[in-house]
């Protein structure tokens, strides 16, 4: 890394996260408000590490009931059938649309889990002051940010199946409690990704650079 790698914070400058204006606050401790858009200025997002940990722990707790509890309950004359996310995937596979089964499996089961693992990995490496594979970790964070919304897929599937199959008394589909937990996982991981500050990934290598000077 070259010595002219200077961050805005080291130069006493702060980037407004709302409008992207770079400005020089009068006081380092209290950067105050952006002169252009009036948003509060911070060098780093407030309590990013604690907030992100809290949110992913909450999401991990919800992940279990989301996968165990039924998301849909189908009642036909006399019989009641409960579907979890996994059994929904199996059902799609059995009826011949294996590519849709794969999409649902990836979006509903693998992406939320991968997001939790990825964010925990980023938090642990940041807290340990790691300076290795910074670029890969930055790329991982951007991927987590981009991909999170697709986990919402199963919530929409349940919503529209429930909305259409209301042919009482012949057949009706009711939403199960699993949907609520599943939606909670998706929302919590999206908010968790937003509360993490990717600049923290680079701060430890920057600190090392300062010591070398």
């Amino acid at each position: 890394m070259t010595p002219d790698m200077l961050t805005a914070r080291q130069a006493g400058l702060v980037l407004c996260e709302a409008c992207g204006l770079l400005s020089r606050p009068a006081h380092r401790e209290e950067p105050g408000y952006c002169p252009r858009c009036g948003e509060e200025l911070t060098f780093r997002r407030h309590n990013a590490i604690q907030r992100t940990w809290a949110l992913i722990i909450a999401a991990a707790i919800c992940y279990l009931p989301a996968n165990i509890l039924p998301v849909m309950t189908t009642s036909t004359l006399g019989s009641v059938e409960e579907d979890t996310i996994i059994s929904g995937v199996v059902l799609l596979y059995m009826t011949g649309s294996w590519h849709l089964a794969l999409i649902v499996l990836i979006a509903s089961v693998m992406i939320p889990l991968a997001k939790l693992i990825a964010l925990a990995y980023l938090l642990i490496t940041v807290q340990r002051g790691s300076i290795r594979r910074n670029r890969d970790r930055a790329r991982l964070y951007r991927l987590v940010e981009f991909i999170g919304r697709w986990s919402m897929l199963d919530v929409f599937v349940a919503t529209f199946v429930v909305a259409l199959i209301q042919l009482q008394p012949l057949m009706a589909v009711l939403p199960g409690t699993g949907v609520l937990f599943f939606a909670a996982v998706v929302v919590l991981t999206i908010v968790a990704a937003e509360s993490f500050d990717p600049r923290l990934i680079w701060d430890s290598s920057q600190g090392r650079l300062d010591q070398d000077d």
Partner: protein, 233 residues
């Protein structure tokens, strides 16, 4: 690097100096060709894109998106017929049925992600683009732009579309499914929303907005506009 400790927090800085939003590295933006991109040399984040004629192109797309959004919400999304009975649903009808079945929080979340968030994103963007046709634009244009951007990650029209397709396959074995006009409007809307984010350059709006501290915008912003090309000295 300007080391001066002047009172003005901004004008002492070189105009093309920026900090990478993902790694905080200070860097200068080179002058870009139309369509050209600049990436952060350290973390690879795209830090600048020269988008020619951004405001007018985005306005055209936003107006079209608003029309597609209205059609998508008014017309039925899909219908089905089974054992001599028919049913159909609109987008909001899905959320309503969830509410009626007792899953109220999920219903509100679905309503927010497929109706409220896209409506705010499109509606506020439209207001911003109309407001910045005047120079300097009122500072509320900046506030609305911020609101539009906050809602963007929660506007999940394309995820909903995939969810609708999956539910169609699930239902197809139970009943005959008829795609509605709303479905085609949603398809158009997905394309238009994606095109809006590709074409839109928020910096062009911020350059025209009256500053919160009532000192800006800098006069050079209006000159950039007249010159068309990125001014490099």
């Amino acid at each position: 690097m300007a080391k001066s400790r002047e009172r003005d927090p901004v004008t002492s800085l070189p105009e093309n100096l920026i900090a990478c939003p993902d790694c905080d590295l200070l860097q200068r933006i080179p002058s870009l060709r139309p369509g050209g991109k600049a990436r952060c040399p350290r973390c690879g984040k795209v830090v600048a894109v020269h988008k020619p004629d951004s405001l007018d192109r985005t306005l055209a797309l936003t107006v079209t998106a608003a029309i597609a959004f209205i059609v998508a919400n008014v017309m039925p999304l899909m219908g089905l017929s089974a054992v001599g009975r028919t049913a159909s649903t609109t987008i909001i009808g899905g959320a309503q049925e969830m509410w009626a079945q007792g899953e109220r929080i999920t219903a509100l979340l679905v309503g927010f992600c497929v109706v409220v968030a896209p409506a705010v994103q499109i509606g506020f963007m439209l207001a911003v683009l109309l407001a910045v046709r005047r120079f300097p634009a009122p500072s509320w244009a900046g506030t609305l732009l911020r609101w539009s951007e906050i809602h963007q990650p929660w506007a999940m029209v394309e995820v909903m579309m995939l969810g609708v397709l999956v539910s169609l396959v699930k239902i197809a074995e139970l009943a005959e499914v008829i795609p509605g006009i709303g479905m085609f409007a949603v398809g158009a809307l997905i394309f238009l929303l994606a095109a809006m984010t590709v074409v839109f350059d928020p910096e062009e709006v911020w350059e025209r907005v009256r500053w919160a501290n009532s000192e800006g915008p800098r006069a050079s912003a209006s000159m950039d506009e007249a010159g068309g090309e990125e001014a490099t000295r």
